[in-house]
């Protein structure tokens, strides 16, 4: 079985109930995965939330956990969208040290990155920046020489391009009937 070590982005539709996050985290922990990022919020369906998480691991291992996660009763649907054409975004807040000498350079930097300056203090500025991870990394790197006092990131959220929105809830269950040929992959079945 090909075992490719890389970033996986997984999107789950889950019921809003206490303990769901714990159950999901528990499945990853059991297999020794470290969750790189996790973003949770309400979905368009009342009572259901959407989670995006990214993990590092071999495809077969990630598939295994994803299938185990689908067995969590509150998980209504789950998809590995790593190989799909998606829009992925993250939001970051960066508090960067600013002096009268550096302030205007920093403001220029923000403009280049289309970052908003959302707070101004005597000795610092706060940037709000949205984009993919590379963009946020790039801005962060450029801020470093000025002195980054604090960095906070939301983690990735991702949505497939085009298509007809989220698949019907039942589809997730039905697609397991064949469960892939040769190897059973969640990501390849949607």
């Amino acid at each position: 079985m090909p075992s490719r070590e890389h970033h996986h982005t997984i999107v789950a539709l889950v019921e809003d109930k206490p303990g769901v996050l714990n159950r999901i985290a528990s499945k990853w922990r059991q297999r020794g995965f470290n969750i790189e990022s996790l973003a949770v919020g309400h979905s368009e369906i009342p009572g259901l939330s959407r989670m995006t998480f990214t993990v590092d691991g071999a495809t077969h291992d990630v598939d295994q956990v994803t299938k185990q996660l689908f067995k969590v009763i509150e998980v209504v649907n789950i998809t590995d969208i790593t190989d799909e054409d998606v829009v992925a975004r993250e939001l970051a807040l960066i508090r960067v040290a600013a002096t009268p000498n550096t302030r205007s350079a920093l403001i220029e930097l923000a403009q280049v990155f289309r970052a908003n300056i959302v707070d101004v203090a005597q000795d610092s500025l706060m940037f709000e920046v949205t984009g993919d991870e590379d963009k946020i990394e790039a801005l962060y790197e450029l801020c470093l020489p000025y002195g980054v006092k604090e960095l906070m990131r939301t983690g990735r959220i991702a949505m497939a391009r085009g298509g007809a929105g989220h698949p019907e809830i039942e589809d997730g269950h039905r697609r397991y009937r064949s469960a892939g040929e040769g190897k059973a992959q969640v990501g390849s079945l949607l």
Binding site: M1, V14, E15, P18, G19, N22, R23, S26, Q30, L48, D63, Q64, K67, Q68, F70, K71, V72, I73, E74, V75, V76, N77, I169, E170, H173, R174, Y176, R177, S178, A179, G180, E181, G182, K183, A184, Q185
Partner: protein
């Protein structure tokens, strides 16, 4: 009319058809025990330790096919259930555990006897929930039974604070459940079933590996039909034992670590292996990369996560074994595999894995076989874990679909003593034998009090070699015979039995075996026989850890045994 939370629990159990359950009272489930006498139609069995409640409910579920139910109080009561829950989880047994929790305002404040049991049991339950409103109890319990018994069965835990048990609400039992995230697929994909049928038709050396799923979904008739129609030999895993008639000419017995030599060779030669309701566990496969090297794999299982977990699969079929086999039987045409079966029988004659040698010594295999011969297909056989368990599995060739009750996945020593209680309650008319190890027996022997209190005529056979036999076997073979902490002081088991009010017998001699078993069978009450067997007998055939099935070591009476000792398992 308004009912208390505790009454609602009982009403729900009534509607779920619970007639017997197992439990232990304590501070946090007092309201439940307070209303218990109002429901005389439900029998509560008071055990002596909560672990026993879970194991008894587990065995009860395995025999009846219904959910087993157990109750415990908060904190230590709930944590004592944990081993039993894990056992049911590993073996896909439907269990509903209802625990009392500390009063809701003390949750998370380290109240007396508080333990976060829903947190603790997340990895070993199919689902669990903490109910904080009395109005939600009925739904929670309805869902618990639904989840526990459908799809791939498993344990569900419902934790209810004491004050919630005391609050009142209108009782209405939900007519249906609303679980958008839980819709198990039971019907196999027709396309895959067609492909499987085609592979069967094309195969020359097919095998069926039947597992617990066959027993759980009660698919034994469908399995017999498939096997007979296409003349495919059936190998049963430890938990698949009983899923195919023991005396059937196509029954090949158990594979794997202590399975029949011929099966391990057959798996290595087969061109088609059909896993039916089993999960290619490491005790079955040996070294995975060498498993069934010439075979295409068809895998039928209700749990999609099992497909492709351990092995690449040519034809995956997700669905209920009974439904899938019924559909498959419609597609499969008659076939014969005479040459293949001839080869298998030849292997069987050449390597008679389970021949008991002529000797005056009291061999454990002889004891176990004598129990089977005397008690037959009407009895239930419950085992613990270790050497005696493997012998019990090897010598089980009887026609009883769910007559063999054992702890497979978790391998829980001490399971046998309370599990026999559950099995006996599931069928009060039949004989129940608990085949015990001397080590495991001492882990749960307090349950003899329960046996006597409820007048259960269970026959306990302790296969007593004075050792933790399987651990010693590994120390002998793979740790240079460095016997460390495996020799055990034993109490006088006969006196122990009698202290509880159980008839106790001691057998030290081969000549006493038959008469003691006859006496046990004719005695109307519980009996314990302390079979003081040959100390150093080991369990063979054996696949050394990490080795492939092809490297199976046959019978101890061959030179292989000595060679294995010398080389530490490598041939």
């Amino acid at each position: 009319m308004k009912l208390t939370g505790a009454q609602i629990i009982m009403e729900c159990m009534l509607r779920e058809g619970v007639d017997t359950f197992f439990g232990y009272p304590g501070g946090a489930n007092l309201p439940m025990y307070d209303v218990l006498p109002q429901y005389p139609q439900i029998r509560h069995v008071l055990v002596r330790h909560e672990q026993a409640a879970a194991h008894a409910a587990d065995a009860y579920a395995r025999v009846t096919g219904k959910a087993g139910v157990c109750w415990a109080t908060s904190g230590p009561g709930a944590t004592n259930l944990v081993t039993g829950i894990a056992n049911a989880w590993m073996d896909s047994v439907p269990l509903v555990c209802i625990t009392g929790s500390v009063v809701s305002w003390l949750i998370g404040r380290d109240g007396f006897q508080e333990a976060d049991i829903t947190g603790i049991t997340i990895p070993i339950t199919k689902h669990n929930t903490l109910v904080l409103n009395v109005e939600d109890i009925a739904t929670a319990i309805r869902e618990a039974f639904h989840i526990a018994t459908t799809g791939r069965p498993g344990p569900v835990l419902v934790d209810i604070p004491r004050d919630v048990q005391q609050q009142t609400a209108e009782f209405e039992y939900p007519a249906s459940v609303n679980l958008p995230g839980y819709q198990p697929v039971t019907e196999g994909d027709p396309h895959q079933i067609e492909r499987a049928a085609k592979l069967i038709a094309e195969s020359e050396r097919p095998l069926i590996l039947a597992g617990h799923g066959v027993v759980i979904s009660r698919a034994w008739d469908e399995l017999v039909e498939l096997s007979e129609k296409a003349q495919v030999p059936v190998i049963t895993t430890l938990l698949g034992i009983g899923g195919f008639p023991g005396t059937h000419e196509l029954n090949m017995g158990m594979p794997g670590m202590h399975g029949m030599y011929w099966n391990n060779m057959a798996i290595s030669e087969a061109d088609l292996v059909m896993g039916v309701g089993m999960r290619f566990d490491d005790r079955v496969t040996g070294s995975l990369k060498d498993f069934a090297p010439k075979a295409k794999i068809v895998h039928i299982d209700i749990d999609p996560a099992e497909i492709g977990k351990n092995l690449p699969v040519a034809v995956p079929i997700v669905g209920d074994v009974k439904q899938v086999l019924a559909a498959l039987n419609r597609e499969v045409g008659p076939a014969r595999h005479d040459e293949w079966r001839g080869w298998l029988n030849e292997q069987r004659a050449k390597h008679p894995s389970i021949i008991i040698p002529e000797t005056d010594k009291l061999l454990p295999q002889y004891v176990i076989k004598s129990i089977y011969d005397a008690s037959g297909a009407d009895a239930y056989y419950v085992t613990g874990v270790g050497q005696h368990q493997m012998w019990a599995a090897q010598y089980f060739w009887v026609d009883k679909p769910n007559g063999f009750v054992t702890s497979g996945g978790l391998g829980t020593m001490g399971f046998e003593v309370p599990a026999a209680i559950g099995a006996q309650f599931a069928d009060l008319k039949s004989t129940v034998w608990a085949i015990c190890g001397d080590g495991g027996f001492q882990m749960t022997s307090q349950e003899l009090a329960t046996v006597v209190e409820y007048e259960l005529p269970i026959k306990y056979a302790i296969i007593n070699n004075g050792y933790l036999g399987m651990v010693r076997q590994w120390q002998e073979l793979f740790y240079k015979n460095n016997l460390s902490a495996v020799r055990m002081y034993q109490p006088d088991f006969v006196k122990l039995a009698e202290a509880y009010g159980v008839r106790g017998l001691r057998v030290t001699d081969k000549g006493q075996v038959q008469s003691s078993i006859d006496l046990a069978l004719s005695h109307p009450g519980p009996v314990l026989i302390d079979f003081q067997v040959e100390e150093y007998e080991n369990t063979f055939p054996m696949v050394p850890p990490g080795a492939s099935l092809q490297q199976t070591v046959d019978s101890p009476y061959h030179a292989e045994d000595a060679r294995m000792r010398e080389t530490g398992g490598v041939r």
